[in-house]
Amino acid sequence: MLRILHRVITTGTLTEPLDTSASLESLGIEVRRTLGARYAGSFAIRHVDAGSCNGCELEIHALGNPYHDLERFGVRFVASPRHADALLVTGVVSRHMQEALLRAHAAMAKPGLVIAAGACACDGGEFGANYASLGAVANVLPVDVRIPGCPPPPALLLRGLLAALGRATP
C-alpha cells in the first residue's frame, strides 16, 4: 500500500488542460445540429464498434488515461444505450452489425445524438461499401457530429465529444 501511495504522490497530476486554440472547423470536426446546454453537465455515451479495425477503440481507450481524463468534463461511457445521450460509432457499418447498430440506436432516449468517429465511420475510409460493408455510418443512421482521422487522436476525439455536448464553441 505504501508503495502504491508513494507512486501516486510522485506521479502527481498528468491531466492536461484542453487546447482550445484551434476552431472545430480547422480540426475537421463537423457539427450538424445546434447543440446546447441540454445535458446539464452530464453526458453519457454508448460506444458501438460497427466494423472497425480496432484502431479507433485504442484511441477511445486513451481518452480515459490520466493525460486526457475524459470524465473530468462530466462525459462518461455507459454500458446500455438506454442510459446514453449519444451513440459514438466507429468503423464502417459491417452488414453483420447493421441490425445491432439500429437496435442500439432505437433503444436510446430521444433525441439520441449520433457521433461518427474515424475515417471509416465518416466516409467509409479504406473499406467503403461492398458486399460486407455499408460504408459510412450516415448510410445507416442520421449523423450529428463527425470526427475525422484514421484513427482520430484522443485530443481530437475530446474536442468532438465536447462539441456534441455543446461545451466547445465552434
Binding site: 502504491i4 485504442l58 461511457f77 473499406f127 460486407a132
Partner: protein
Amino acid sequence: MMAQAFAERLRAALPGVALSPRTESGLMPAMVLAVSAADWAALGTAAHALGARWAACWVDPEPDHWRAWVLYEQGGAYVLAQTLLDPRAPRLPSLAAVYAAADRPERAIRDLLGVDFEGHPDARRWLRHQAWRAQEHPLRPEQPLAGAPPARAPADTGYPFRRIAGDAVHEVAVGPIHAGTIEPGHFRFAAVGEQALTLETRLGYTHRGVEKLAVGRDAEGLLRLAARVAGDSTVAHAWAACMAMERAAGCAVPARALALRALLAERERVANHLGDVGGIANDVGFSFAQMQFGALRERWQRRSAVLFGHRLLMDALCAGGVRTDLDLAGTQALLQDHARLRAELAPLVDILLDHPSLEDRLVGAGVLGTADARALGCLGYLGRASGLAFDLRRDAPYPPYDRLPVRVPLYDSGDVAARMRVRLDEIDVALELMDTLLAALPPGPVSTHWEAPPAGARGLGLVEGWRGETLAFVRFGADGRVARYAPRDPGVFAWPALERLLPGNIIPDFPVCNKSVNGSYAGGDL
C-alpha cells in the same frame, strides 16, 4: 536447410505418396510440397504425428485452377503443402479432425469460396451471417465486390449454438455489442450459478471484405489495407504484406529499413503490452495499475507520433522500405525513453508481482494447459504462458533478427498471471532489442525502388507480431495488381483457447480471462 529436413521427414512418413519437395524464391524459407487432393489428409496426419504445427490455410482462385495451401511448422522449419482444386466443384479433405486449429479457418474458406471440406466435423457457417446466402461465395472471382446484399441484413439469431442440457443450467448471451469499448462479437455461456460450464464464441461481426478489397490494388493500396486489418497490429500486418510482396518481386530491402521496421514492430509490441497489462489489472478492479500503464502507453504513443508520424504507427512502411528515417536526435530521444520506461516500470512490476489481492485473482485463473495450447496452435504470449516457446524472431529469424539475440520468456502455469508476466518480460526484451538496434543503425537509404513483379509471382511473409506469428500471402496479377492477399492474424487461435480455458471459472472472471488472452476480432473477421 531446416525446411528441407522437415520435408524429408514428411516424405519418409508417407512412403506410398508422390511428394516432390521444391523451393520457390517468393515462398522461402518454406519448402513447397505438392500433393494430390487425395493425399491431403494423409499429409496432415503425418505432419501431426511428427509434432508439426498447423499454421494457416488459404485457397487461391488462380485463373486456370484453384490452389489450396496449408503451412506447417516444426521447430522453426516451414513446409507449405499445396494441391489443386477444380473451380467448378472445389473440394478438399478437412484437417479439422486432426488439427483443431484448422476448424474455423476451414469454415471461413467454405463460406467465402465455397470449398467443400469433406469430413469437417462442424457444418455450421462461420464468417457468413445473414448478409449473403449460403450458395453465394463473395470471394469467388466472378462475384462482384458490391455483391447483392439485402437492404437490411437481419441479425443472425438463428445460429445453432451448442446446447448444454441440465436442470440448473442456464445460458448467458453477451454481444455482439459489449459493455465496454471493445470490438463486437457474441459469447454464449452455459452456466450453473456463477460457474461457467462452457463458452462458445461467435465472431464475424467485423467482416469488412478485406480479402476481396485487396484484389486489384497496387502495392501501396494493399499496404494501406494491410495496415488496417487490425489497428493494434498495423506494423505486423504491414510488414508481413511487405515481406510477401518483396519476396515475390525479389526486392532487396536496405539494411537500415529492416532495422527501422524491427524498431517499429518492437514499439508496437511494447505499446500493446503496456495497454494489456493495465487492462488485465483493471478487469480485477486494480485501477491504479490501469492509470499508471495508461500514462506510460500515452507517452509511448506520443513519441511514435512525433518520430514516425502516427500514434499507432499506421502507414509507416512502404514496399521496399519504410517512409520515415530516424535522425540522431530521434535516436537519442528513443534511448532516453527506453531508460525512463525501465526506471518507471521496475517499481510498478514489483507491485504487480507482489500484491496479494491481485495475486488472488490472477494466479490460477483461466488455466490453459500446454497440450491444449499446442492442439489449438496458440502463439505469442498466449503460447509462451502455456509452455510453448516458439518465437519466429529466434526460431526462424528474418532480418534483422538473424543478427540479434532474442530472449524468449517461458512459463508453464498457463494462467492469467503467466500471460501478464510474459508481457512484462517481453517489454524488457523489446527494450533490449531496440537499444541494440539503435546502437548500430546501419547507414544508407531507408527504402529502395519498388517494381512490381510479373503476373503469377507470389510471396509469403512471416513476422513475429505482438500476438505472435503474423502471416501474409500475396499473388500478383497483371500490371502489378494484387490478385490474392491472404492475411492470417495470430489472434484467431486465441478464441478456441479462451473457450478451452474458461470452463470452471466464474463468469465474473470472464473479462480478465478474455483480456489476458486478447484474441483479435478484426484480424480474424477480415
